[in-house]
Each structure stands twice: as C-alpha cells, then as structure tokens.
C-alpha cells in the first residue's frame, strides 16, 4: 500500500472475502487500484474471479471485509456512472444493430468527450457491420461490439470478465491496445484471465486468487 498515493486510489479492498453457503469462495484479499492501473485478476477455474467481478459491480454483496470507492463506502451512489462492466453475458440486444446498442448505452451512461458510436465501432474493427443485427455476428464479433461500448461511455473503471475469451489474435491485441489507451487516459481496469493469454503492456498489477 503506497501511502503517498492514497489520494489517487480509486478502489480499495481490505480483507475482502466472499462465502457462499458459508464456504469461502475466495480468501481475504487486499488490493488498491489507482488511476492508470490495469489490474489482472488471475486464478484457476473456479477460483472466484467472476464472483469478485460481480462484487465490484456492486451487484453482489459481501459482509466480510471492506470495499472502498474513492475513500467512500462502496455503494450505488458513490460508484454511479464511474463503473462499466463487461461480463460473460455481453449485454447486447441481439435484435438491434451494434450502432443501436451503442445509442442505448449512450443514453444510459452518457458519452465520453470526443467519442461517437461510429468511431468506436471502427476502432474495434467492426466497420461495415454497424447496421447488422448483432444476432448475425459471430461470437468474436459480438465481443468486439461489446468492447465498443467501453470506449463510448465516460466510466473511469472498466471491469472486464475474461475479455480475451472467444477472440482471435487480432482481437486480443485490440483488447490490449484499448486497455493501454484507457490507462494512459487515467482510467483504471480490472481484467480477469486464467493466464493463458493476458495483458501485454507495461507490467500490470496482479491480483491472485487461490494463491
């Protein structure tokens, strides 16, 4: 814990633990995410990565340990609008086109300065597929459409659950580039992965479950 930087801490966890039916899913963990950090949550299958992600979105609650957002307790009010989440389910409407999906996200979350739906679709490599119903995209193309949402909305913290799954080599490079740019802008991201493929930028922080 770097005391000097503590003003800059976005998310801090102290002895965070989650138990399901009183069986500990992941042990007490401590970490601090600063602006500009990309943190990699590593762990084997079943080690609780997805569970931790859901806790960080605020959807899942745990009474054990402490979670702090910018010095305040981790509630809906303090985190509102600052967090965007990309999970196993991508949150895309299959009957809408990628562009329409982005319009909805823009309405709900607002828009980052300088971003626009068409631009972000191009930058994730979906130029030409903007008006195709998401239904007709392949697994990897859908993932890219979901990644475009991250670029559009102003949230500072990205929570990405296995963003690399289903992506080809280009796609993996794309995620890494997006993460790098986000960090450079002063954003922060938590990314789960089981370590087979992972963020390749500057040495990321690592949070290990099931040490």
């Amino acid at each position: 814990m770097r005391a000097a930087e503590s003003a800059n801490v976005l998310i801090e966890a102290r002895a965070l633990t989650y138990s399901r039916q009183d069986e500990v899913v992941f042990g007490p963990i401590d970490f601090a995410i600063h602006a500009g950090d990309i943190a990699l949550i590593e762990g084997d299958n079943g080690s609780g990565k997805t569970t931790l992600m859901r806790i960080l979105t605020g959807m899942l609650h745990t009474d054990e340990g402490e979670l702090i957002f910018e010095g305040a307790p981790y509630t809906r009010d303090t985190t509102a609008g600052a967090i965007v989440f990309l999970g196993h389910h991508l949150g895309l409407k299959l009957d809408l086109s990628a562009r329409e999906n982005l319009h909805v996200a823009e309405g709900l979350y607002g828009r980052r300065d300088g971003a626009d739906p068409l631009g972000v679709l191009t930058s994730v490599g979906l130029a030409g597929y903007e008006d195709e119903p998401v239904q007709r995209l392949s697994a990897g193309q859908k993932k890219r459409a979901a990644l475009a949402r991250l670029l559009l909305v102003p949230a500072r913290v990205w929570l990405l659950d296995e963003p690399y799954a289903n992506l080809d080599r280009d796609g993996i490079a794309l995620v890494n580039r997006l993460l790098g740019e986000h960090a450079a802008r002063g954003g922060a991201a938590l990314v789960t992965s089981h370590g087979a493929v992972s963020f390749a930028g500057d040495e990321p922080r690592r949070i290990r479950l099931h040490a």
């Binding site: 959807m59 967090i83 999970g87 196993h88 895309l92 909805v104 979350y109 980052r112 102003p154």
Partner: protein
C-alpha cells in the same frame, strides 16, 4: 465527459424497448391471439347456448385477458436477464425505479394495450350486450396497467431463478383476486343495469397507488433477486 441525463436515459430505454417490440412484432400479436383462441375454446367446451354465453361473457373475457397478461409478463425481464442487459441497466447512474417504470410502460403499451382493443370484440362474440361494453373497457383500462405493475414486482422477484411462468401465476393470483373482483363487479353491475362507477373508482385508486409504489418495489425486488 457528458454524463447522461435522466430524461435522455428514459427516452433511450423507451425507444429501445419499442424498437425491439417492433422488430419482433409477431410477438405483440401473441397475447391478442392467445386471448382470441382461449375465448373461442369456451363455446366449444360449453356448447353454443346464447343465454349462457352472454351470462359468462364478462367473466370469461376478464379471466382470459388476465391469463394473456400473465403469459406476456414472463418476457418483461427475461431477455434482458439472459443477455446481460439488465446488469447494464442496474449499473447505469440513473434511478433504477424510474428506468423500470419506463420498461413497464413500454411493456404495457406493447403487450396489454392491444388486449383492450380486442376485448370488446371477444365479448361481443360471446354475446355480451352492447350496453355493457363501456363498463368492460373502463374496467380493462384500469385493471391491465394495475396487473402489469403488480406483475412486474413479482417478475423481478423471480429474476434470479430459472423457473417457468407458473410460479409467477401462483404468486400473482392472490394479488389479482381483488382486481378481478372489482373489474367483474363493474361488468356485472352494468349487465344488471346498475351504476358501475364505484368499483371502477376503487380500481383507479389502486392504480394511482401502484403507479407510485410498484416501480420502487420492483427495483428493490430486482436488487434482491440479482444478489447472487
């Protein structure tokens, strides 16, 4: 950075839900067709005696409309849960109750409102006298949004489960009994030539209450149901 305004969020959501309904406009017709078919079954099952059909027309139409709404309710959050959109909605920096209110409104417009249009036709097919029809329409105009609102709370509660719509029916029944009693009361009064304003007024009062409370209850229920 431009944080989204609440009105923009509601508008975007409303447009999204209407667009989706339009893209699958076959589905809008479904509750209506369901009501038509169930109503049609009754003459087959009971025989075509006109007096009998007229006597039961109000009740059968009300029950049928209720069942159709019940079936449609299941889809209120289903697809949003399955594709993760609901989580996105819950993470948005807007009051969840308001967003859910918008969703319920869109759902009522697409699923329940067409039933109000078709109900008089069904009632006349069952030989309901023409002078009773206004009471039927008034009852449905108030009863269907009430059912949608009450149903939404219960659907939200079952959001985390993989259960069928049956559980929903079980949970909704105790809540809809009073609604059915008042609606049927209005229709029955009209059928006997009595004034039917009183039960309609009760329905209106209940609707006003539900409009305020149900979206908030719905949001609370959803947070409970998704917490796992």
């Amino acid at each position: 950075m431009t944080p989204g305004s609440t009105s923009a969020a509601c508008a975007a959501l409303f447009r999204r839900d209407l667009t989706l309904a339009w893209r699958r406009r076959g589905d809008i017709a479904m509750p209506v067709l369901y009501a038509v078919i169930v109503t049609t079954l009754f003459p087959f099952a009971l025989g075509p005696e006109a007096a009998l059909l007229a006597r039961i027309s109000g009740g059968v139409v009300l029950v049928t409309v209720l069942l159709a709404i019940l079936l449609a309710l299941d889809s209120l959050f289903r697809s949003d849960i399955d594709d993760g959109s609901l989580e996105q909605l819950m993470l948005a920096p807007q009051p969840l109750a308001l967003l859910l209110g918008v969703k319920i409104l869109a759902h009522w417009l697409t699923a329940a409102a067409p039933l109000i249009v078709v109900a008089p036709v069904l009632a006349s097919m069952l030989r309901m006298p023409a002078n009773v029809i206004p009471a039927l329409i008034a009852a449905l105009v108030l009863a269907t949004p009430l059912l949608s609102l009450l149903g939404a709370v219960l659907v939200a509660l079952t959001a985390g489960t993989r259960r069928s719509g049956m559980l929903l029916a079980l949970m909704l029944l105790p809540l809809c009994v009073p609604v059915v009693i008042f609606a049927a009361g209005a229709v029955a009064a009209a059928q006997e030539g009595l004034p039917w304003v009183a039960p309609i007024a009760w329905l209106g009062a209940a609707l006003a209450l539900a409009l305020v409370l149900a979206p908030m209850a719905c949001a609370a229920a959803l947070r409970i149901a998704m917490d796992a």
